[in-house]
Symmetry: C2
Subunit: 256 residues, 2 copies
DNA sequence: CCGATAGCTTGATCTGCATCAAATTGCTCC
DNA sequence: GGAGCAATTTGATGCAGATCAAGCTATCGG
């Protein structure tokens, strides 16, 4: 593992303020692996032996039932995944599959749990990370239950814009098929939702989406700081909430 | 606070194996309060100053957007809520309202965070609790995205049965209006879904639901241990997963 | 006992989204 | 460059679930 990779791992919220000794214990036995695109890293129901740290590439987390498969999250570097299963030493509830060629650090779950036991500060960092993941899922559930599919797409585009702080042109990070499932719709309806957003100044060209009128789009999308982690907050209370991890990876787009 | 209440708090997974000193620090400044039915305990967006421990009654957690309100979870005693916000010292993402007269222990968030800093075992217990909540939400998301409303109802009934281990008669714990929103549907469609389940031996009389043929119902519901925490597991691996907290309160129905 | 109210059910209708079926675009690999 | 394949878009249709509008039932206070 390159020194620069170690620095990137240390940059994660999970390891950011951790004492060197603890970091050594926590990452003991970790090894870097490369996987081609389309590799199943983990099947739901499998016991989870490692904490995964994605250093390069994209990973999709999905769930299956009754022959249907839905995308639950897409991860981009640098981020960890299946921390909750590691903490509980439990079976995975989601499957993980590489969407591209990936570089992944695999850390034995035992090492993580040992480090937690030895260093309450690290255990607190794990708690904060999990609390952030939890809140990301709460936001996600509200998004799913309160908004229709076009509204979800509109908010997704605004979130992308906020993450990239690009003017009015954003790039989609994933295939539309995958994005559709992440947003809880079919690919056909994602197409139609994009078409419906033309009225609000949105035009699509492959992965490049131009937001002609952010104001009009916001008027439809009604972004809300209690659902969309990027949305402007009323006061300046709760700066800490930025520590949250937005499951759908947008904040991971660039180092924080 | 009665001694019996303290015992009940100690019975929570969060406090179960905690040293007496730590328990004292963690619950310092906690005070018991009684609230009438229909009281707003917390409004989404509010800063969260306390960890809430529900000792008696029922509490609903809900979210709002654009004049719509949806139920995210219903809590029954004994359980804690908004731990994630306490850990991050952040604003609440959900509102909390009493559904009945309630008895609630309110513990200052500072005390919890201090206890975590002092005792890595307690910090680990917090991590485990949060990991369980997180996994509950993952299950919930899979339930929402993979199943239709009748399937969700069918699985809910089977989960109730498993929690009460009642033969074939279960009691609904909540008003149907509330249950409908929890399951992601309208009250009208909950009625129709109950009607649709008649074919599978389900009959309803007020809050009392009779499952005439569990086999037929399971055939429709296809319960899955990776979505429904009560469902039978294949092997006997991962006994630890039982430590999970199923957000929608079913496992809380009786002391564990 | 009776009227009032809230919760629930039933029916009719409408909408959003899924599904099925092509047609089209874009990409990869010879 | 072009064949071949996958991804996306577009169109037609059907169904699940929302909405709107009555009716019904149960509970409660008088």
């Amino acid at each position: 593992m390159r020194a620069s990779d170690i620095e990137r791992v240390k940059g994660l919220p999970l390891f950011a303020d951790v004492a060197p000794d603890t970091f050594r214990v926590a990452t003991a036995g970790g090894h870097l692996q490369r996987f081609p695109a389309g590799t199943m890293l983990l099947l739901e129901g499998d016991p989870v032996d490692f904490l995964y740290v994605l250093l390069d590439g994209q990973v999709e987390l999905h769930g299956t039932w009754n022959d249907h498969e839905i995308v639950l999250a897409i991860l981009r570097p640098v981020s960890t995944f299946i921390l909750a299963a590691v903490v509980l030493d439990a079976a995975a509830l989601m499957s993980a599959r590489t969407l591209e060629r990936c570089e992944i650090l695999m850390i034995p779950g035992d090492a993580i749990r040992t480090a937690m036991r030895l260093d309450s500060h690290f255990a607190m960092a794990v708690s904060r990370d999990l609390a952030g993941c939890y809140r990301g899922l709460v936001r996600n559930t509200k998004n799913l239950k309160l908004r229709n599919s076009t509204e979800r797409l509109a908010n997704y585009l605004l979130a992308l814009r906020a993450a990239d702080n690009s003017g009015g042109v954003v790039r989609l990070h994933h295939e539309k098929r995958v994005l559709a499932s992440l947003l809880g719709m079919t690919p056909e309806n994602l197409s139609r939702s994009f078409a419906a957003l033309q009225k609000y100044g949105v035009s699509v060209n492959g992965a490049v989406v131009t937001l002609g009128s952010v104001a009009a789009l916001e008027n439809l999308a009604k972004p809300d700081p209690l659902i969309d982690n990027h949305a402007p907050r009323g006061g300046d209370i709760v700066a800490d909430a930025d520590a949250e991890v937005w499951l759908s990876d947008l904040t991971r787009a660039k180092p924080r």
